[in-house]
């Protein structure tokens, strides 16, 4: 079972920078040397801490009002770059449950969905409306409702968002994708049997000769 996502209400931390890459979210050395359960404290390390190890007060999640914020509002192409899934684990451990952005790095978006985090890609006009409420000027509380696909603001006004219905369903129910796909194993085997006839060269996966002929 994956953790379910239904509704999240809380302060929205603004990180309105474009092209935030997964190297910045979690540096590679922490992917190998920091235990999986302790990634939260090193998330955004390069911009979150100063060189002496103290917190950088300019970084939004270090500020009192935004500490532990369950909602992150990002810019465009958030989570671009490396496919490292620890980037999602690290954000999750920081307490972030949903990320609202213009759009996302493709692999990062998929990794969020596989871990029960809701990535919300807003259309340009909706994104502009959200930012225009001044969430980068003062702390703003938002309510994100996946059932209704709505972001509701403090004044009651709301912004609709899109998500692929099957993904929405999986998040709402906490569905484990692998468990679902395992039910389709007979279909997979049948496809493979046909494919072996149609494209036999794909299925030859041992070298034609022991010696590398060209290299």
């Amino acid at each position: 079972m994956m953790r379910k996502f239904t509704t999240v209400t809380g302060v929205a931390a603004p990180l309105l920078i474009d092209d935030v890459n997964t190297d910045l979210i979690i540096p590679i050395e922490h992917c190998v040397s920091t235990p999986r359960g302790q990634l939260g404290r090193v998330a955004f390390e390069a911009i979150r801490y100063r060189s002496d190890g103290s917190e950088n007060p300019d970084f939004v999640l270090n500020q009192h009002a935004y500490r532990g914020a369950p909602i992150l509002v990002a810019g465009a192409n958030f989570g671009c770059g490396s496919s490292r899934e620890p980037a999602v684990w690290a954000l999750d451990q920081l307490g972030i449950r949903t990320i609202i952005a213009r759009d996302f790095g493709d692999i990062f978006y998929a990794n969020c969905l596989r871990n029960g985090l809701l990535p919300i890609a807003l259309r340009a006009e909706s994104y502009a409306r959200l930012v225009a409420i001044g969430l980068d000027k003062k702390p703003v509380t938002l309510s994100v409702d996946l059932e209704r696909c709505l972001i509701t603001m403090q004044d009651g006004d709301s912004i609709a968002f899109d998500i692929e219905p099957a993904r929405r369903h999986a998040l709402l129910e906490g569905l484990d994708q692998l468990g679902e796909t395992l039910l389709s194993l007979p279909d997979i085997t049948a496809f493979q049997q046909q494919d072996r006839v149609k494209r036999p060269w794909v299925w030859q996966t041992v070298p034609a000769t022991a010696e590398s002929k060209k290299t």
Binding site: D103, I107, W203, T205
Partner: protein
């Protein structure tokens, strides 16, 4: 009745759909899956924990490339930090029965170098790996992209992935490349022109006279950085260059199987009049060598260009971001990159670690010496590239000039193997990412072609290869 014209993406996608799961998601067959030494250590234990086995063991492969040292003699002196990534990985892959291209294996190398080199990457296949630069394999007409750890487990257990079909983008590149300008300059210029997020949600097909004229290794460089445009993958329709490249490779089909494969690959092209969701074009006849100045790949300009002025940016948000980038990179507004001193020079990676890259660099280096105080490395992209280069004496050319000639691996591109650039130091590198801390915490990276990087080694500053006198 005429059928609707199809894009190359349409054809590649539909051939792998096992079933439609929803209007926007399909269950896609994975023809080739690669684990590396970071993901393999997690994926196999994950599989065991679930009590599952591999659905199609013969379609899965593994390689040790990311976390292993590239120092000579690495098989005998494995340092404490990388022991797991060598020994535990080796044991896990043996127990799992996965073909593992381990250090010491003649076929070891960076996954995106050895896939094509061994003929494991074939046109019309889906090729997935736990690495974002898997898009490289699209150069051969494969549908290839990177996945995370959860999807790795899904693939091992079912040989499938649940995926929405990306939108289609075509980038047409026309015109002959000027001398000293290479595929690396092309892709850097494309990303600079259209932006690091221009391809989000798309699969990009590269076409045009410049692409047709490229040899396979140049195409691999081009597609390697499709992900830096934000796109899920880059693809090039297979042609005679592709077939000639693959013919006789160890894992490529042979005999009658080869003939039927080539016949099927002829269908793998975009039909006339097929519609794309987005089309872009660029003419390359005036292209100059490119160098990045910032910490996003689209922060790039011609080598003789000037670093931007944050105050010239229209939006406050951009002004702040550019100013912060210049602070990190220790650059001034309007500064010219050419002539900027560097401490590290790196030639290698899945972008530019192939034989043609080493030849370009060697031709510039031959008979000259690396500037004093510069740490200059050549890391071949695979053990086979290393052997081929040594057969041609390129190792001597580099060594005589003062370069360190190393074993194959990701080295200073993944920087998780003991190879790093010290904080505050500046590197010019043939790799694919200039992100904050990419080559080590606090490191400053400028991306460029092997020609620019080799020329820079000789002067110790960022140097235009066209200005070196022969």
């Amino acid at each position: 009745m005429t059928e609707r014209p199809q894009t190359l993406l349409d054809k590649l996608w539909s051939q792998h759909v096992i079933k439609q799961l929803s209007p926007a998601e399909d269950l896609i067959h994975v023809d080739r899956f690669f684990l590396h030494d970071l993901s393999g250590l997690i994926a196999i234990p994950d599989l065991r924990k679930r009590g599952l086995t591999m659905q199609s063991p013969a379609l899965n492969f593994a390689v040790t490339d990311h976390a292993v040292s590239t120092a000579q003699g690495r098989e005998h002196h494995v340092d404490a930090k990388s022991r797991r990534y060598v020994f535990e990985m080796r044991d896990l892959m043996r127990e799992a029965g996965i073909r593992h291209f381990d250090i010491g294996d003649a076929d070891q190398g960076i996954v995106h170098v050895i896939g094509p080199e061994l003929g494991l990457t074939l046109p019309g296949t889906t090729f997935l790996c736990t690495d974002s630069h898997t898009c490289t394999h699209g150069a051969l007409g494969a549908l290839a992209w990177g996945v995370g750890q959860t999807d790795a487990l899904h693939i091992l257990a079912t040989q499938t992935i649940v995926q929405g079909k990306p939108k289609s983008m075509r980038i047409r590149l026309d015109g002959a490349l000027p001398s000293s300008v290479f595929a690396k300059d092309v892709i850097l210029a494309v990303i600079g022109r259209f932006g690091a997020g221009a391809g989000v949600g798309y699969a990009v097909e590269f076409c045009g006279s410049a692409v047709q004229a490229m040899l396979m290794e140049e195409r691999l460089t081009l597609c390697n950085m499709a992900v830096e445009l934000g796109s899920r993958t880059g693809i090039i329709a297979p042609d005679s260059v592709t077939a000639d490249f693959l013919h006789g490779r160890p894992y490529a089909p042979s005999g009658a199987l080869w003939d039927s494969a080539v016949e099927a690959w002829r269908e793998l092209h975009t039909d006339d009049d097929a519609a794309f969701d987005c089309e872009l074009t660029m003419n390359l006849t005036e292209l100059r060598p490119q160098v990045t100045w910032g910490t996003s790949v689209d922060q790039v300009q011609p080598i003789d260009g000037r670093v931007p002025d944050p105050d010239a940016a229209p939006e406050a948000k951009t002004r702040a971001a550019v100013a912060e980038t210049l602070r990190y990179m220790d650059l001034q507004p309007h500064q010219v990159l050419e002539g900027l001193p560097v401490q590290h020079v790196f030639i290698g990676s899945c972008t530019n670690g192939r034989m043609s890259d080493l030849k370009i660099a060697a031709d510039i280096v031959r008979g000259r010496t690396v500037a004093p105080g510069i740490r200059a490395w050549v890391v071949p992209g695979s053990s086979a590239v290393k052997r081929a280069a040594e057969r041609e004496g390129l190792d001597r050319v580099f060594r005589d000039a003062g370069f360190d000639w190393r074993e194959s691996g990701c080295s200073l591109c993944s920087a998780v193997n003991g190879d790093i650039v010290a904080p505050g130091e500046r590197s010019i590198s043939t790799t694919n990412r200039n992100f904050v801390g990419r080559q080590g915490p606090g490191s400053r990276t400028h991306l460029a072609s092997p020609a620019v990087v080799a020329a820079s080694a000789l002067t110790g500053t960022i140097t235009d290869p066209r200005k070196l006198n022969r």
